[in-house]
Amino acid sequence: MELFVERLLAGVTNGSIFALLALALVMVYRSTGTLNFAQGEFALFSAFFAWWLVGTGLPVWAAVIAGMVAGFVLCAAAERALIRPVQRKSELATLIVALGLFSGLNAAVALIWGTDTKVMPSIVPNGLEDYFELFGARVYGDTVITWVALAAVTILMTLLFTKTELGLHMRAVADNAESAALTGVNTSRILMLGWGLAGAIGALAGSLATPLAPEQLSVTTMFPIFIGACAAALLGGLDSLAGAVIGGLIIGVVEAMVTGYVPLVGGAMQQTTAMVLIVLILVVRPNGLFGSKELERV
């Protein structure tokens, strides 16, 4: 029982990180209709930036917020300068730009901060003694903070989309950019904002993930997380915020359970198992769990 709860909680924690980055992917998809292959590397860059700020003496929470701002600016700028001009050419062209960003950002991180592993401190106390027990399992501070972050981001996003005029306009642009433009909505600003928010959320995911990641912060930290997030976003349906959250949690928990309980697979094939499961789900539901039908145009 204890072990089970421990695994469940570990799964939920990893899943929360997947979900956060998946939310970023969904934001971009809703704005631009593409899968941003560089989302993980944007997050990586922002997390390194936050790490560097901590080194200059900034409190961790302030550094994380600054990292989010950096992520916002970076992503918004990329949308405006690099994605928008090619987006109309073809889907493949957009994808290649994202791949270029992927490779460029990753190398830029290595260039600026080096390829050695960094230790990103946690926002909250996370010493060996800083835990409480839940059904006999130990829950540490940096675990809780990921749950809180996911919950907070989900709630804020939901409020943004359902209660504010800006959110209404964002939904309108996601649905049909031309119709939205015809009513006077500034689609250009909305697209940048969508990417910017994605960048900020990704940065948060990156900064929170690194204290949990076994090798701490390095240039390879975000790629596996990005893959998990990608799977989560697609599983959820690419355009659904709730889908991204649920998808992320499912993948985190499935991976943890498979590692723990399926000896044949063990620790070696957790990603494979998760992916096979997702494929099976897609065979039954080709647009993900919560995707809207209209998105078949992709």
Binding site: L35, P85, L99, A107, A268, V276, P286
Partner: protein, 399 residues
């Protein structure tokens, strides 16, 4: 959608000068074909004079190009974006490696099996494409790409696991009929890769001019319309993915023979490889015949080039920047761009093409019926410069 029409315009040059028309089967046409064949043989011979290091790079280019041809079949021509071709490449490579090491196969005999396995895995992955589309289908291929290295690591008594497979060079000796010694393996693989590349390229060229090839482009450009025309979209997709896997698997087999060491880590069979293949395809020109070769040349040599300017991470940054710059200025890829330029000067038409009989006709596509016009326009970036550049319109006008 506007994107398609915009591209039509861009790729349909309205030049003042009429291009020279070259009718298939005419004398001029045969001469051009002979010159091209001579050029290819000449290039191949020049290749043999290269230093060992350069020759091995050219071999790497050729092998990558074959793998990219495979990807191009699925992604470039048929529109099924695959992020999992690294795995198909790996299937072929490991098939060759394991057969040589555990079953004492002679290397060249492993290639048909590598091809067959690539075909089988491709078919299996293609099946979900019947229901799952677009980016969701790409996720299926992504799953394959992620699973492959994990499977290799997991079944290590068979595959060598994380430690890798080492095929000692005594097992990779060129066959005796070549008259080459063990130490001339580089030359042997160069020759084998060259011939393989040319053969695969010609096969794909012929495939793309067949009914199946037309159906494949149809699946990419207007799936709904083509379905109502009675094309079996499901069969086309699955078969395409199988063929694509076969070609990439074959390339994987060659790769194993060439490098002699296989490992699940390090980028040969991981998503990094998939990204490299996609990049090569795009830079060369998606859906073009020569694109894979050009793109592979760029992706093999560009990192080397950028690393001679600078070292370490900067070359990675430059690689990313170059990629983006290419998309901005050459979205149809190098081969696609060359072809647009070439079509301004020379245009190949089928023997019964009306314009060929009346050589004074203007540059306008006179191809009478709607099918002809559509495929010519959409085909701007699809047909290579050279002897076959007007195959789509031949299809249109001969019906």
């Amino acid at each position: 959608m506007s994107t398609v029409t915009d591209r039509e315009r861009a790729t349909e040059p309205r030049t003042e000068r009429s291009p020279v028309l070259l009718a298939e089967g005419s004398r001029a046409y045969r001469i051009v074909v002979l010159v091209i064949i001579a050029g290819i043989i000449g290039l191949a011979l020049i290749g043999t004079t290269l230093s060992v290091y350069r020759m091995s790079q050219v071999t790497a280019v050729l092998i990558t190009a074959i793998a990219v041809i495979g990807l191009n079949l699925a992604t470039g021509y048929t529109g099924l974006l695959s992020i999992g071709h690294s795995a198909l490449f790996g299937v072929g490579a490991y098939a060759t490696g394991i057969l040589i090491l555990d079953y004492a196969y002679s290397p060249i005999l492993t290639l048909p099996i590598a091809t067959a396995l690539g075909f089988a895995v491709g078919l299996i992955v293609g099946v979900p494409a019947l229901r799952i589309r677009g980016l969701y289908f790409s996720l299926v291929t992504l799953a394959l790409g992620i699973a492959f290295p994990e499977i290799i690591r997991r079944f290590d008594d068979f595959t060598g696991g994380a430690a890798g497979l080492l095929i000692r060079s005594q097992f990779l000796t060129p066959p005796s009929w070549t008259g080459l010694t063990r130490f001339e393996r580089g030359l042997w693989l160069y020759g084998l890769s060259f011939v393989s590349f040319v053969v695969v390229m010609l096969l794909v060229r012929n495939l793309m001019r067949s009914r199946t090839g037309i159906a494949m482009r149809g699946v990419r450009d207007h799936e709904v319309a083509i379905r109502s025309n009675g094309v079996d979209v499901a069969r086309t997709k699955v078969l395409t993915f199988g063929l694509s896997g076969a070609i990439t698997g074959y390339a994987g087999g060659l790769f194993a023979m060439n490098v002699g060491a296989l490992s699940p880590d390090g980028g040969s069979f991981t998503l990094v490889k998939s990204i490299e293949l996609i990049t090569a395809m795009f830079i060369g020109g998606a859906g073009t015949l020569l694109g894979p070769l050009i793109g592979s040349t760029v992706t093999v040599f560009l990192p080397e080039l950028t690393s001679t300017w600078t070292t370490g991470p900067i070359s990675g940054v430059l690689f990313g920047v170059t990629l983006i710059v290419l998309v901005f200025f050459m979205p149809e890829g190098i081969a696609g761009r060359l072809q647009i330029i070439a079509r301004r000067f020379v245009r190949v038409v089928p023997p019964d093409h009306p314009a060929a009989r009346r050589p004074t006709t203007s540059t306008q596509n006179s191809g009478g019926n709607a099918t002809g016009q559509k495929s010519v326009a959409a085909g701007g970036a699809e047909q290579p410069p050279g002897p076959n550049s007007d195959d789509a319109s031949s299809e249109g006008s001969s019906r």
